[in-house]
């Protein structure tokens, strides 16, 4: 899938952008989620929550968002709040209760329906296009600019990488692998080759080494294009640049693939 977004996504992003305008956001520090939520009539509670990452409970025009205090990473908690705020703002469903799992939010490219739309809302709210796009205009595609944006906006590396790919003018993609298999792919502008979801990682990829218990190199490296790409007609394309980061706690690898111009 390319980064051309369906109508519902665009609507969700527009709604988040309107919120940013409403609160005069000019810098990342101005994205004060709890205060925005409160002004909109939503309380945020960090407390125990069994079997879910977050929950939205409506009471008429008001609501409470409960975020599990078991989540260790503040960036993920922040995404959870923005995601639930998305359900609230977009009036999803008629139920007063919205319970969202970790999967709904953090394996977000695989999530379905309203969950994906709430993720699109959260993506724009936390990483607004008008602030992020210029930071994605880079000469070399690797995790350095992604990490810098994630630090500045207090967002997870995965959510940031997806936004980075969306706005980066270079031909690049981000992939998430678990159990030595590609779990999801998000392609940027003009990234034409096909990458099959569910394919086993090729031994020539750097990501493969993570699942062999080896340490990944810190820097990007050139790898055989065929190791990642499934298209029959790769033509002159012999190598792509791969930069992979392993998450030991999740047993997963996040990979950036870049086709040099």
């Amino acid at each position: 899938m390319t980064n051309e977004l369906p109508y519902d996504f665009m609507k969700a992003e527009k709604s988040a952008a309107e919120l940013l305008r409403k609160y005069g956001v000019e810098t990342p520090e101005h994205i004060r989620l709890e205060d925005m939520a409160y002004d909109l009539g939503v309380r945020i509670v960090e407390a125990p929550l069994k079997g879910a990452a977050a929950r939205l409970l409506r009471y008429g025009k008001n609501a409470t968002i409960r975020v599990s205090n078991a989540e260790r990473y503040s960036t993920r908690r922040r995404f959870s709040v923005a995601h639930e705020l998305g359900h609230f703002m977009l009036y999803h469903g008629h139920s007063i209760e919205f319970v969202c799992s970790d999967f709904d939010m953090h394996d977000w490219y695989q999530a379905k329906g309203n969950e994906r739309i709430a993720n699109a809302f959260a993506g724009e709210l936390l990483l607004p296009r008008f602030l992020v796009e210029k930071r994605c205009d880079v000469k070399e595609v690797n995790f350095e600019p992604v990490k810098a944006i994630a630090d500045e906006f207090q967002t997870s590396l995965t959510a940031t990488a997806i936004r980075f790919i969306r706005f980066c003018p270079e031909m690049c993609a981000v992939l998430f692998s678990m159990d030595s298999k590609v779990k999801w792919v998000y392609k940027g502008n003009d990234f034409w080759p096909y990458i099959r979801i569910g394919k086993s990682l090729d031994k020539r990829t750097l990501a493969y080494f993570f699942f062999q218990g080896k340490t990944l190199p810190n820097d990007p490296e050139d790898v055989d294009a065929e190791a990642w790409l499934d298209s029959d007609r790769l033509g002159d394309l012999e190598e792509v640049v791969e930069h992979s980061i392993g998450f030991s706690r999740l047993g997963a690898v996040l990979t950036l693939i870049w086709i040099r111009p």
Partner: protein, 144 residues
């Protein structure tokens, strides 16, 4: 020259020019301002930027007010969790249903499997509903 002084001078010159501009064309007014040493386009652009900055800063004040109120109400509501944790399941269900029945748009809402939830879940649901309800009551009292 300070930014403020520059704006004031520009506004003075603008007022002066506009004051006697009834019989002048737009070009003549502009020429007069240029003769006063004012780059009209650049000044207007700077002025608009300043207006934009002030507007955004004013909008952010809504967040400062929200923060103050939020911190105040957080202190008041921290006791709720303890209060509800000691209630029986029957009592929790009764209280949740009471709140739900009083909801403004209760007819369009549904809540599945309340009975099957644990006491702990029900207590947290009641707490969250109560917090949202408190906020609704506070907003109503602000409106009145």
């Amino acid at each position: 020259m300070s930014e403020e002084k520059r704006y004031l001078e520009m506004l003075d010159a603008l007022t002066e020019s506009l004051g006697s501009s009834e019989d002048q064309s737009l070009e003549e007014v502009t020429e007069e301002l240029i003769a006063e040493g004012i780059d009209v386009d650049a000044s207007i652009s700077r002025l608009m930027q300043t207006v934009g900055k002030c507007t955004k800063a004013a909008r952010r004040q809504a967040l400062d007010r929200a923060r103050e109120e939020r911190l105040r109400t957080e202190q008041r509501s921290s006791a709720l969790a303890i209060e509800f944790a000691n209630l029986s399941k029957a009592r929790l269900l009764k209280m949740i249903r009471e709140i739900m029945s009083a909801m403004p748009d209760a007819l369009s809402l549904s809540f599945r499997d309340l009975e099957s939830k644990s006491d702990e879940d029900l207590a947290s649901i009641l707490e969250d509903l109560e917090l949202a309800k408190q906020l609704a009551v506070e907003e109503q009292s602000h409106d009145e």
